[in-house]
């Protein structure tokens, strides 16, 4: 660490130090370390050193000049001599010409030692931070969470592991907005803040963990005002590879579990629900309830993404949406299903459908998904069948922008029929001319289509399009105005919805 000479002069141990010669015009003087000369003839080595001469020095003759010269030639930061009587005019002039500050103090050794100790403090602090990591490693429970928790306790400071979107994967309660606000609210989001270098003196210090996890990983610590930035950062740099190691371990374990689940699921699907003798037991071990009524859900993502690594996000979304579901990596996505002990009521099915839509909505910003939902079916064979329906529905949903890429198989039969009919050559031109007023009106056609698909629900339409419901209602009002139709009239609404389907499918 380095210190400005002006800062050094403010040290309490330097209260007796007087500036005997200084050139105010030059750039700030940076002191890197202290170097003690016993006699004025000792060689001066240190670049950036405070050269303290402990021996008695006659400062009225050539010796002080030569010493100043030698210190300046060695690029010393400053020269310190015994006694605070002023320098002779000529020597002060030499010091000023060579731009070497000269300090005087009664005990140069004590002052030099005080400076050296002060300069070493950050290294000491960094050593303490790093030592705490090693102590924590000894006691930390397995897993990333255990490690982050243990280190945080050792440091006695809140420590988090975040993904690049700013969601906490480990650590205490996380208030991302506060960290991102930082100083003068420079970052607009946590994600953006994580990409920036750490501000000097910022409340939260963050560092990227070297990992190949698709969501990235960042360590964030809430420093205290007295903590030295570089010490904290150094400690995080030591911790980061360890965390990366644990992440890799966790990943290995997850892949092992995933393989088990996946093979169990394919066993189930291939058997068509007629299981081998020990299969139910193994499925029970996984927490799968084969009896009862099941609704299968198929979730597909772009093929570049990694289903194993992203499984926790899917699970979290299901949990957040209040859907109890098993989720298993399957192909380029996931197979999920919800099990009801008894045949669910119509209301329960409605709730479930809404919740699945909410799952997709929760995932929308990080993970664009295509989802298909099967019908409710009883028993193991029912599960297989519902998952199959969900897969079919998902394949159809790929093209369904209006439905937000979510298709419920219960509505699939009618939908497909209508769709087939609306694609005929007689209907398409008529539909196109009906909707002509909406041409060139950005978003109106899509909004109208989504609104009609969503049973005229502003809230659902807003969720599907990811816009505010007021935006939806404004667009609908404009579309109605432009088209001159009455959506309260079932005939007109049906005609309009069919026309929308036709036009959108021809795009």
């Amino acid at each position: 660490m380095t210190l400005l000479l002006t800062e050094a002069l403010a040290l309490p141990a330097w209260s007796g130090v007087r500036v005997l010669a200084a050139d105010d015009a030059v750039a700030p003087v940076v002191v890197r370390h202290a170097e003690v000369l016993v006699g004025p003839q000792d060689p001066v080595r240190g670049q950036g050193a405070l050269v303290a001469v402990v021996g008695v020095l006659d400062r009225s003759d050539w010796r002080i000049d030569v010493l100043i010269r030698r210190a300046a030639s060695a690029d010393a930061a400053a020269l310190m001599v015994r006694g605070d009587e002023p320098l002779g005019r000529a020597s002060a002039l030499v010091a000023s010409r060579l731009r070497l500050p000269v300090l005087g103090v009664g005990d140069p050794l004590a002052a030099a030692v005080a400076l050296q100790v002060h300069l070493a403090l950050p290294e000491l602090a960094a050593a303490r931070w790093v030592t705490a990591i090693s102590t924590a490693l000894g006691a930390a429970p397995p897993g990333v969470d255990g490690l982050v928790g243990a280190v945080g306790r050792q440091w006695q400071r809140p420590l988090w592991l975040l993904d690049s979107a700013g969601n906490a994967a480990a650590g205490p309660e996380w208030d991302g907005a506060r960290a991102a606000a930082g100083r003068a609210g420079r970052a607009t989001s946590v994600a953006e803040w994580l990409q920036r270098p750490v501000d000097r003196g910022a409340e939260f210090v963050h560092l990227a963990v070297p990992t190949d996890h698709p969501r990235g990983a960042y360590l964030v610590v809430h420093r205290r005002p007295t903590d030295d930035d570089s010490a904290v950062l150094a400690a995080l740099q030591v911790l980061a590879p360890t965390v990366a190691g644990r992440l890799a371990q966790q990943r290995l374990a997850a892949e092992r579990d995933a393989r088990q689940r996946m093979s169990l699921l394919s066993e189930l699907l291939q058997s068509g629900g007629r299981l081998a003798a020990d299969a139910p037991r193994r499925m029970l071990d996984q927490g799968w309830q084969l009896d009862g009524w099941h609704i299968g859900v198929r979730i597909d993502v772009p093929s570049a993404l990694d289903p194993v690594a992203l499984l926790p996000e899917i699970r979290r979304a299901f949990a957040d949406a209040g859907v109890g579901a098993q989720v298993v990596e399957n192909g380029e996505g996931w197979a999920a299903w919800t099990t009801f002990a008894d045949q669910p009521s119509q209301a329960a099915l409605q709730t479930h459908a809404a919740s699945v839509r909410r799952v997709q909505w929760l995932l929308r910003s990080n993970l664009p998904t295509v989802m298909g939902v099967g019908s409710v079916q009883p028993g193991p064979q029912g599960l297989v069948r519902s998952l199959g329906e969900a897969g079919d529905a998902a394949r159809i949903a790929v093209t369904r922008t209006a439905g937000g890429h979510l298709v419920h198989v219960d509505r699939l039969g009618v939908g497909q029929l209508l769709l087939a009919w609306t694609r005929t050559d007689t209907f398409a031109p008529a539909a196109s001319s009906l909707l002509t007023p909406l041409q060139g009106q950005a978003g109106l056609l899509e909004t109208l289509a989504a609104y009609l698909e969503a049973e005229s629900s502003l809230a659902d339409t807003a969720a599907v399009l990811g816009v505010h419901r007021n935006t939806v209602s404004a667009r609908i009002a404009r579309a109605v105005d432009l088209l001159g139709v009455d959506l309260g009239d079932p005939d007109e609404r049906l005609a309009l919805q069919l026309a929308c389907r036709s036009v959108l499918s021809h795009r």
């Binding site: 050539w62 010269r69 300046a72 005019r89 020597s91 002039l93 060579l98």
Partner: protein, 357 residues
Amino acid sequence: MSTLRRADLDDFVRGAMLLGSGGGGDAALYGYQLATLLPETGVELVPLADAVAGGLGQVAPIGMIGATSVLGEKLPHGGEIGEAIAALQRWTSRTVEAVIPVEAAGLNAALAVSAACELGLPLVDCDLMGRALPRFDQLSLIAADPALLRCAALCDPGGQLMIVDHSDPAELERTVRSHVANAGGWAGAAFGPVAATDLVGRVCEGTLERALTLGRSVSGTTDAAASAVALGGRFLATGRVTDVRRPAASGAQFGRGSFAVTDRSGPVLRIEAENEYLVAFLDGEPVVSCPELICVLNRRTAEPIAVERLRAGDDVQVIALPGPRWWTGSPSRVATVGPRAFGIDLDPVLLPVRAAG
């Protein structure tokens, strides 16, 4: 062979002062006397080679010993050197056939000329220092072969005579200094005598003529800086004298003085001095040291200013001139007259160009 005439006296005195490097005493004191003493035809400065070739016998180095500043208050009666030589002849039963100055710098250069005129003895142009130096062990003859110079005759202003013999250099120094200090502050001295042949290679030759040359080159009408360079020396600084430190009156034989010369923009020149200017520093870097000559000149008149006359506020220019070649002839000789011989812990810093000896 050159001759020193009355018309040359001003240059000769100035040159002797330059060779003094700030010490050696005020040559003008004997210079006034020389103006009347010097014959119309002048005094021949006999080169040593000519003297040896002419079969010259015993030669006595002569000079004033002691505090040159006291000389101005306690004036010589004029016969000191003559009496010292007479005593030397009586004691050694040898006839002194010629004189040489002990140091051909400052007042001793002029004194030797004056004594040669008065006594009617030839003046051989060589000396034992080549410049001003303070101590007996810094006599070239002693540095070369101490056995050659063990006897001295001293005549103090009160007329008291003392002969010292069989002394080694340290004893000679001690005895003579303590006697002089207690007997009026200064004394006229004659050493040896030494056979002219023994002087060859053990003395600085041609110093008197060099004084004449230097005095002509560095005069009020010339550019001192240019002259210094032309003479193989260098220009050091010009400016006002600041930070004058003189030794406390502690009774020490040679006190250390330190002077700084600064001007508005140039580097800070510091000169360390005892009886002579010894080492010059520019911004803390030693740039020239004894045995080279460091000369502080009045900027207006180019007159050399002696150490004891330098005052704060003096407007000066400072030049360095090559010192006597004899002393730089070997490392041990340089060490005898280098900075460490004066307690300044520095290696000698010699001028790069030594065209003139």
